[in-house]
Subunit: 209 residues, 2 copies
């Protein structure tokens, strides 16, 4: 499926066509809807209304809710990957960028979390899925860093990736504990949470250099 931010532009001006701009409004509206209500809870009529179009147009652009979610999730994962760029020689820095990204965009974390809960049956590996290809690429990057001596070789690269992701998203995940930090933390500032996350990754997988 082509990314509508680059496809179908009027060549002369680079302005979006009417069709493209409707499609993009649908995607924006759907992002909000899925982030708030998940996939099963999302309603196409609310998406259409927010996008100032009809449910028929939504179905004309996307086969249905699931296809629309899949399109958005894939694009969001690419956006996160681009904004955070895993550097296998500086995993603490990467964890900090992930922390910042999901602090600034909690709705992106919700989008991913709904999919994890709702798409259990599609969890079987499919190497052609771009998000799985991205994971495989990251594991390979970590493996090569271990061979090059810039990452401690004792850990399985799969565990390294999982632990860094997990630690970086500690506060995006544990919303109930996050809400209690104002009362309970020595230093309630978000910068203190970020420093602890980065410190934990640094102790496990120190940056080389």
């Amino acid at each position: 499926m082509p990314d509508s931010t680059s496809a179908n532009r009027t060549p002369a001006t680079g302005e979006p066509t009417a069709a493209e701009s409707t499609r993009e409004r649908i995607v924006t509206a759907a992002k909000t809807e899925f982030s708030q209500h998940g996939i099963a809870g999302a309603r196409v009529d609310r998406i259409a209304k927010r996008a100032r179009t009809s449910t028929e147009r939504v179905y004309a652009y996307f086969r249905g809710k699931e296809a629309l979610y899949a399109f958005i999730a894939r694009r969001e994962l690419a956006v996160v990957a681009d904004a955070t760029r895993m550097d296998p020689t500086d995993l603490p820095g990467y964890a900090g960028r992930l922390f910042d990204y999901f602090s600034d965009h909690p709705e992106h974390f919700r989008l991913i979390s709904w999919g994890r809960l709702e798409l259990v049956n599609s969890a079987s590996p499919d190497p052609d899925d771009p998000s799985q290809a991205a994971i495989t690429h990251k594991i390979e990057q970590l493996r090569r860093a271990q061979e090059a001596g810039t990452l401690t070789p004792s850990w399985d690269p799969v565990d390294v990736l999982a632990l860094v992701n997990q630690i970086a998203t500690t506060w995006a995940t544990q919303t109930e504990l996050c809400a209690m930090t104002a009362e309970q933390a020595r230093d309630p500032a978000a910068t203190a949470r970020r420093a602890a996350v980065v410190d934990a990754v640094q102790r496990l997988f120190p940056a080389s250099a």
Copy 2:
């Protein structure tokens, strides 16, 4: 709300009453329903059918879906806490027990995860909520262990609790990466995942011998 496993028993025999056993069947059915579909997606008619009762009886025992979810979530948190027992002098051991618990009961982890996504508006701290009281108690246990010199004092206890919870649930959370371990891990066995989780917590917060 009294826990129906101990309340309303016929004193002479200790056998559950008919009312209690209906109520318990509703709770069991609702656990399955919430774990699969979340709160918004759960249907009271399906819960009633699975519990071999009527929707009217479900509403007679519980005010509604949200109250039923709140009752179950509270009880499940108590069950997890009881099964895993946080020992502030042995956090790696605690992480291993959490890992085991959620490996054996993925449906409990799903129950908690739905609540985190769906109950965003109730995330503001309420010290009378038993689950928040349990968190406060754990933070206090960690603080005392730091004062006693059995836990490294440099970390904020809030960060310690969040990081241990988070690392222990790495594989329950990242289902998409978990599904890829068979192909991608050096050692695809669940024991290898468990060992990495326990090792990570040991390196950050070593057990005091």
